[in-house]
Every structure is written in C-alpha cells, then in structure tokens.
Subunit: 358 residues, 2 copies
Amino acid sequence: MNRVYNFSAGPSVLPVSVLEKVKSEMMNYGQSGMSVMEMSHRSSVYQEIINKTEASLRDIMEIPENYKVLFLGGGASTQFAMIPMNLMKNNKIDIVNTGAWTKKAISEARRFVEVNIVASSEDENFTYIPELDNSKFSPDADYFHMATNNTIYGTRFTKIPDTKGVDIVADMSSNILSEVYDVSKFGLIFAGAQKNMGPAGVTIVIIRDDLIGHAGDGVPTMMNYKTHADKGSMFNTPPTFPIYVCGLVFEWIKSLGGVSGIQKINEEKAGILYNYLDESELFSGIVKKKDRSLMNVPFVTGDADIDAQFIKEAGKIGLINIKGHRSLGGMRASIYNAMPVDGVKTLVGFMKEFEAAR
Amino acid sequence: MNRVYNFSAGPSVLPVSVLEKVKSEMMNYGQSGMSVMEMSHRSSVYQEIINKTEASLRDIMEIPENYKVLFLGGGASTQFAMIPMNLMKNNKIDIVNTGAWTKKAISEARRFVEVNIVASSEDENFTYIPELDNSKFSPDADYFHMATNNTIYGTRFTKIPDTKGVDIVADMSSNILSEVYDVSKFGLIFAGAQKNMGPAGVTIVIIRDDLIGHAGDGVPTMMNYKTHADKGSMFNTPPTFPIYVCGLVFEWIKSLGGVSGIQKINEEKAGILYNYLDESELFSGIVKKKDRSLMNVPFVTGDADIDAQFIKEAGKIGLINIKGHRSLGGMRASIYNAMPVDGVKTLVGFMKEFEAAR
C-alpha cells in the first residue's frame, strides 16, 4: 500500500482504521443504498450520524449538559470574528499572545472590541509560554482568549489560568482531544477539525448555554451561534461528510481508552522524540522544556543546509512533511493523535542514523 | 451493491464513477502515500488538485479570465450576508422573490441595505416565475439578486433578465452546471456544492474582478471576498476533501460533453417525467409549464393519503427521498446531473404501475 508517515501540521494523518471504514462505506452506508456524501442532511439516517458524532464527543470530552456542541463551516479563522461578535458586552477582551494564531485573533477582534494583551512571548519568537500576572487582567473583560497549543512554535499551556471569573475562550485547534481538559473551566472552546478530529471543512465549537443569544442585529445570521444552537447545527446544510469522519475518529479514540488513554500514548510519543532531542549533539528543540507541546515538535540543527539535506533524505524513506514553518525554518514533526508510535520511532531512528553518518 | 435511486433535493446523488474513484484513492492518492483528507493544503500535491478543480470548472462553464473562482466554507446561506457586505455602495438592491431562498436573501440583505422587491410569485405559492417589469428596477441598485432555479417549488428562469447595466447576482445552488449559462451576463454567481457539484461543505463563488475589494473595515476578514481572492482560496485551510470530489465531478461532466452535453441529458430526463405528468390522470405537476425546472419536479395526486402511500411503496423498491418539501406536501423528484436516465425511467414506470393499480 506504501503509506507514508505524514508529519503535516494540518490537515494531517488520520487513523488507518478510520480511512478503511470510510472506504468500505463509500458506495453504500449501512443499509442506506448511498454514500454519506449523498445523504440529505434532513434524513433520519444522517440525523443518526450527527447525533452519534455529538454524543461520542460529549462522552470522550465529558462535556457538561449546559454546553452546546456546534458543527460549523468556515474554518477556525471565522471564529476569530464570531467570538467577539457574539460575546461582546463591555467591548473589551483580554488575550495572551503566544504566536501567529493569537495574533490573528487579536487583529480580528480589534474590528469589534478593545483588546488588552495581558502577556506575550513575542520577544523570544514565541518559543515559550509567558507567565501570567493576574494584576494585568481586566476584571470587566468580556472574555479571556488563549490558544492552548501553538502549532507553529510547538508550545502549550500546561495549566489553565485563573481568570477570576472571566470566561476563558480557548483555541484548541491543534491539541483538542490530545490530553484531558476540564470543559467546565472554559466558556467556549473551538477547534478546526483538520488536526486531531477529521477532514478540513468543519469547525467544532463547544459553548456554555448562557453565552448564546447576545449577538446584535448587525451580526449575520450565519455568524450568530444562536442560529446553529437552536437548530442542532442544521439551520443550513452542515459539512455532512467531514462530520461523519469526525464521528469515526471519536469512536477510534474511545477504543483507545478515551482522551486519557490517548494522552498516555501522546506522552510516550513526545517523550521518545524530546528525549532524543535532549541527548543529540546535532538536533535540538527550540522550545523551553516546561512549555513543550505534545503535538508539534519543532527542531533544528543550526545549519540550514543540513536541515535541507535531512528533510530531503527523510522524504525518500517516507517521513513526509517535516519541513519547519517558514517563520522558523528547520524541521517540525507534528505528532497528532493519529500518528502511530512506530512513526515517531522510525523518525527518531532515522535522525540517529543521520547524526551517526556525519 | 444495492444502491438506491436517490431523489434527494440535496445533498444528493453523485456519479457512481466518482464515488468509485474516491474509494480507490482513499488510502493512497496517486503516489502521495496518503488520503486527500490527510494532505496539507500547502503541499504541492494538494495545490495540483485545487488548481485542476478550478481549471476544470473554468473550462466547462467557460468562465472569462476577469472572473475569480472562490472555494469557500460556510454554505450558500453565508453568501446571503457576504454579498451585500461586499457589494454595497449605494446601499440599495433589487431582488425578484421566487421562494424560500430569495426570502432568506431578502431578510439577510435587509440587515445591511434597502431591498426593493421588483416582482414576486408569492401570490400563487411560488409556482411560477413572475414577469419582470423593467420600470420597477432601480437604476442605482448595487445589484439585482435572483435564484436561477428554485429547489423547493421547482421553477426556473428560462431567460436572464435585462437589468440595464446593473450587475446580476445569481444563486445557482440548485442548477449550476445543469444547463449552459453565459457567465459574462453575471456579476457574481454562487452555489453550494451539494446538489450538482459534490459533497456539502464547499460553496463556489464566481465573481467579476472589479466587484472585489470594496468591503468596509467592519467586515470580518473571512467574509471579505478579497481575502480569498488574493490567496487563491488558501487564506486559511479550505474544505480540501469536498473540493477534490467537486473536481472529479467536473471531470465527469467533461466526459459527457461538458455542460451542453449534460443539458441534453437533463432535458431528456425532465421530458420523460413531465410528459408522464401531463398525461397522467392521477399525478400532476404544480408549476406553470413554461417555468418548469430541469432539476426539481414537484408533483401531487391531490390526496395526501395517496401521496403517502405512493411515497411508501416507492421507497420499498429503492426510489428514495421523493417526499415533497413540507411547505408543499406531495412528492418531489430532484433529478440532478448525477441521476441516471434509468432512475427517471424507473420512477415513471413505477408511477404508471401505481396509477394502473388504482
């Protein structure tokens, strides 16, 4: 079959068993006589699919009953506008700036509200998570925005800040379902599907009930959370096929012991790679150890030519998409949930060979 | 395999050859070693897919060079807001109201602009296309909005109105690629994919260059056509897999002689069904003959119990999703491009049997 190990930052690797299932159901899902792609979103067979997808996500994330789960189109980038448009009351928000994605959130929120940056790691090119000083928080902020994991720089928050009652909005696009989070600590969680959940084209929003229903008249119908919450994500035709694949991924996570089960596997995978980076004389990580991501691991040799040679040779043996983000150079291995332990072992094995041969 | 004939109004039937191709490429697209769902949208292999998809659409629709093709998320419903947000200058638009979808466009546009309804067929429950009186048009309208085909009521415009230089915005969600249109007659064409192009989750916008770049600062980045036009629909991660399937559908249309080729097949299919409706003593169409859709064919017996019995018995032999829209009752057969001629013949054969048995 010649599958590669795909270290892409997103869209990214999916579980082989999920792809096999999608393939087996392509011409005829269950007894329906049609592909999921061909199903009316109003049909009972599709309603069962989306119901089951939501139930599985609620199960593995232990989402409390007073939170809605929305399946939306438009990508996580659309959320950077939807969140302030729906949640603004005092027209002021707090945010911690940990890289490109929070920068986009900042510039988009500024169209609508005053943005207070409580901390930033831009001084060291976002290679660490800044300490948060509570005295810089706005007690009357509409919400506090953070990205739990930064895809580009490979940092993550290892604890959720105490915001003294201000609702936390978390961009979990690159690490949702990779480790256990207590949903009740957040007002709103959002994540594009294409890293840890499924194909690009659906964004999942988990929002506490009381945050829904405050959008003004100038907010487009499709940008209002209430539109989608009131209709179970069926106000219009949702991205039906991507939702179906997400449901299969959620079931796969369940089969591995849920999020806590997959977290152990993720810690094992990340440990293999970071341990080697710490002992290697050629390769090194770029992020402060305490802030290292379980999902995205940027590393460098310090020599752009050697980096390029490494990337090229790795590609030849099926270790794909390990070129670093253009803003950092070097390499990045994204080791999302669906990356097998063997993929990381193969990568580290090759890094050792490459280092030994020099 | 037990595939059914799926007359769903959308999402809807796809060509079997396209589904077979998707299935065959599920584990490993080309020599990539991965599924299309797993590909980075920034990879050269995916760039080729989206480039080819756009080129195929340009080819079969003969889209002039001064038009951009955008692949967007959020569904056609999002366009009801994006269009006025991007195109408004004089803050006034004209629209012809032919049913549920133009009504939604009207109420959404009213958030932003003054809306002048130049004609409506609401007086007869949208079962005809109203005559247009040019004297009711606003010479300073920002654009004229129409839906070329109405999915629910089964009507279609057989000619494009002369708007005296005002740009026409056309919702072609339910009949794009079903018959030949001269793109140069329109300022903007939009269509959700899930009827005649591919899976739900991607909306195609075809927009003349000079209409791009006029959105104000209050317009969210993701709602601004310029954002997507400047980046070839790659500002953020587009719905990669739905776009890939659309590309295969465009190739399939090419193989049938392009849009003019498939138009002939559509006229044949619609003719078979309408001819029988005209001669039947049990079943009748509900739309004025001159305004009949090639894509959506609502029909009734005049007796709700008989309708229900017909729908039930049709379902038993694999003629699926022919229940009419709740606002009309009766039956509706959506016979999109991918519905084979044999599907329509089988339906009409069963209608004849059902009628004869009474």
